[in-house]
């Protein structure tokens, strides 16, 4: 009996997800159409990719508040270049470079100078937003259609953003579980001082996770551009919250050392988007959106915690 209960709990998050699907599916016949499921995946991909990078950072007990700002600067630079007539690949490269530059800056201060990650990335959040506003001159930029085409391109009938998201998840999962760097992340997150004593080059590990997060943010900016085809001064705003929420919803601890991308972060990001999608599909009262979303998040986390409680009897 107890075993069965635990077995059930093991699948609780997935079960929760199914319940949400079934509920909306019953409300709207079109909800469960493959097209719509792909839709959800595409719409979750931008936040999801950022969340994948964020998971790395959270696993080291750090945080990266600058992802939204990185997205904005990257998109602004790419937009400028595209409008100046440079071809798409150049813009893409520029976005990655922006992501690397900003996150290398983060990494320098966090890993090397030991400044708390929260403050460093808060500062880069401000600096990045300011830079972006400066580059865009606080104007919306409508980009050439090549971006939109990129965003809606399909490969094996699955849109490119979903591929990118999928690839990010699989790659991250491999890195986290099957490389020594990945395992060392968990060690550093549990206790950086202990990790140093164990012979891990903690500085390198810390630096790398911020670079990964920056790269993910740049890719996410690309995905978002592919869907919006425009950069506005609000581009990427509040992404950091959405990403942290998705990762934490997937069971990653803010205190480091615990969490996973597959299925955790993937489910976290997709679940939130599924709710938003379902609410529009069922023509819900707009005022109820935040309340319904928050309740579902809450219930999901509650089930997740039931599952973990067995192994960890007490923690505050």
């Amino acid at each position: 009996m107890k075993r069965l209960y635990q077995r059930l709990l093991e699948f609780a998050p997935l079960f929760m997800f199914m319940v949400v699907l079934a509920f909306f599916g019953a409300q709207s016949s079109r909800f469960l159409e493959p097209r719509n499921l792909v839709n959800i995946l595409v719409q979750a991909s931008s936040t999801g990719i950022v969340a994948v990078g964020m998971t790395f950072v959270l696993l080291t007990a750090g945080v990266d508040l600058s992802v939204g700002a990185i997205m904005f600067v990257a998109a602004a630079v790419a937009g400028k270049m595209a409008l100046a007539g440079l071809s798409l690949p150049f813009s893409l490269l520029a976005m990655l470079v922006v992501g690397w530059l900003v996150s290398a800056f983060n990494a320098l201060f966090i890993a090397r100078l030991r400044v708390p990650a929260f403050i460093v990335t808060l500062a880069t959040l401000f600096i990045g937003r300011g830079l972006g506003l400066w580059i865009t001159e606080t104007r919306a930029m409508n980009l050439p259609d090549s971006f939109l085409q990129f965003g809606s391109a399909r490969f094996l009938s699955v849109p490119v953003p979903a591929w990118l998201f999928g690839m990010a998840v699989v790659l991250a999962h491999l890195v986290l579980t099957h490389t020594s760097f990945g395992r060392q992340i968990f060690a550093v997150g549990h206790d950086a001082e202990m990790a140093r004593k164990a012979g891990i080059r903690t500085e390198m590990v810390m630096a790398k996770v911020y670079l990964i997060s920056g790269t993910c943010a740049a890719v996410a900016a690309l995905v978002t551009l592919g869907q919006l085809g425009a950069v506005s001064p609000k581009f990427g705003e509040q992404k950091e919250f959405a990403a942290i929420a998705a990762a934490v919803l997937g069971g990653t601890s803010l205190f480091g050392g615990r969490g996973n991308v597959l299925p955790g972060t993937l489910l976290g990001a997709v679940l939130i988007q599924t709710i938003e999608n379902g609410l529009v599909m069922t023509n819900a009262n707009p005022y109820l959106y935040p309340m319904i979303t928050s309740v579902v998040i809450f219930v999901a986390v509650f089930f997740e915690s039931l599952r973990n409680r067995v192994s960890r009897p007490f923690s505050a």
Binding site: L174, S180, R183, A187, H190, R196, S311, P313
Partner: protein, 505 residues
């Protein structure tokens, strides 16, 4: 013997302007085994941390294999072939045993930078066999008991190509059997020509294993030479700075049977098949012996309300106590010292005073606003510091993380002694405590018992149990299999009970 393997040359180290090592110089020959002894806080671990690359000396130098050696981090040390088994277990509970072992040197799948899981498991399993730990390498370290973790730490040290192994108090949570296994392992390693540094407060072990001994006091080498040139007494005298005539305090000649303070009836932990029943009397020191993993710590945790109890009743002073939290138990005068001082016993970043008074704060705030009286706190702290023999160099405000292992243990103990409990449950109370201080602690336990309290002592050191207890229970597989009154104390019989080689009673 031409060049020694390792030379310390006038190594000094200061923290916060306080000199902890004052010009330490000695050599270790190729393949040699050196015992390092000294009181708590003498600087043993600090010296080893310098050797292992975790700390940099303030002055002085090291030579390893004839060449100048100045490791900047533990990776450097490992590359030179120095393995370090830390006093404070340095394992990651969120990773598996195998991952902990190979954390910095995972075998890879050829050119692909992915971990070769099968190879990891194979090699880890072999290492675990070497240290006599029959567990799956995939198990998470957080599910292991302290003793098992210690063995994993040793397996980890063996995983790299080493020339020198540092053992910093490796036997503190190992029971007799595992200790013997470890010694056999050490002998095997020595025959391979490995050099070792062995730190321990168990002088018998040191004499048994080591060729040479180095005694530290207050960061200075006060004695150095072949083990044969010392006797136990002379070594203690060197370390402590005075002679000690006995290891255990005198016991009362006979104890009249008294009333029970703490009765345990058919208590069973969740997921464990066996019941446990025993009774702890007023003024009694009751020992709990058994092999590693016999379930002693788990029993203690159940009794203190930390782990779930499946069934059974517990009586305190004849009164049934049910589903109680540590807080309620402490309120009723029950205290529990866990075997895990770092993760469960201390707030490492809080000060000595804050840690010492944590369980007894209410006593110092006897007013409606729960306002703390600084003066009463201060007196309590200085009294208990003296009682447990915490050296006076450190201020009350120093953070506990920077204390030596033994001194940290004294603080956890001091915290509970301040409570003046009716029932005190001690799990490995003298882990890492030096000879001199041990005596003091035994005396405190005795005093507490004399004042009418009941003390339950879990220890892996049989000598210790036989030295201080009035009665010893032997556990095996979460059940009590034997009980010995003081007159019946007998190593053989306890071991038989623990191993299950003889049906007791």
């Amino acid at each position: 013997m031409s060049t020694p393997l390792l030379e310390f040359d006038a190594v000094e180290k200061s923290f916060f302007g306080v000199k902890v090592l004052k010009g330490v110089s000695f050599n270790i020959p190729e393949g040699g085994m050196v015992g390092l002894v000294g009181e708590n806080g003498a600087g043993k671990s600090t010296l080893m941390n310098i050797l292992g690359g975790n700390l940099q000396p303030s002055a002085g130098s090291l030579r390893f294999g004839g060449e100048s050696y100045a490791p900047q981090n533990s990776g450097d040390a490992a590359r030179q072939g120095i393995a370090f088994i830390h006093q404070e277990l340095n394992l990651f509970p969120n990773l598996s045993i195998a991952e902990n072992i190979f954390l910095t040197c995972f075998p890879r799948m050829g050119a692909i930078p992915l971990i070769d899981r099968t190879e990891v498991s194979r090699r880890a399993a072999k290492l675990l066999r070497d240290v006599g730990l029959g567990l799956s390498p995939e198990r998470l370290v957080e599910t292991l008991s302290t003793g098992q973790r210690q063995l994993v730490e040793i397996a980890k040290a063996l995983s790299i190509e080493t020339r020198l192994i540092i053992f910093d108090e490796p036997t503190t949570s190992l029971s007799e059997r595992e200790t013997l296994q470890l010694f056999a392992l050490i002998a095997r390693l020595r025959s391979r020509g490995l050099a070792m540094i062995y730190i321990s407060h168990t002088l018998a072990d040191v004499f048994r294993l080591c060729d040479d001994l180095v005694a530290l006091r207050d960061g200075e080498v006060v004695g150095c030479g072949p083990a044969k040139s010392f006797t136990s007494a002379s070594l203690v005298a060197l370390m402590v700075g005075r002679t000690m005539t006995q290891l255990f305090p005198d016991r009362r000649s006979s104890t009249p049977p008294r009333e029970a303070v703490f009765e345990v009836h058919k208590v069973r932990r969740i997921d464990v098949p066996n019941y446990v029943s025993f009774c702890l009397h007023q003024g009694e020191v009751l020992g709990l012996s058994g092999l590693m993993g016999a379930g002693r710590s788990e029993l203690a945790r159940v009794l203190f309300g930390l782990d779930p109890r499946e069934s059974g009743t517990i009586l305190l002073d004849g009164e049934v106590i049910d589903s109680l939290s540590p807080r309620d138990l402490i309120g009723r005068g029950v205290a529990f010292l866990t075997e895990n001082r770092r993760s469960e016993g201390l707030c490492l970043d809080a000060s000595i005073a804050e840690n010492l008074t944590l369980a007894t704060l209410a006593e110092h705030a006897q007013n409606p606003l729960r306002w703390l009286s600084a003066k009463s706190l201060q007196t309590a702290v200085s009294n208990i510091r003296q009682a447990v023999g915490l050296d006076s160099k450190t201020g009350d405000g120093q953070c506990v993380r920077s204390l030596s292992g033994g001194n940290q243990q004294k603080i956890v103990l001091g915290k509970w002694l301040l409570l003046k409990p009716r029932v005190l449950i001690l799990d490995e109370p003298t882990r890492g405590i030096d000879v001199g201080a041990k005596y003091e602690i035994y005396r405190l336990i005795q005093e507490l018992a004399d004042s009418g309290a009941g003390v339950l002592v879990i220890s892996s050191e049989m000598e210790e149990l036989m030295g201080i207890c009035d009665r010893i229970l032997v556990m095996r597989s979460a059940a009590i299999v034997d009980e010995l009154g003081r007159a019946e104390f007998d190593r053989e019989r306890i071991l038989h009970g623990a191993f299950g080689t003889e049906i007791a009673r």
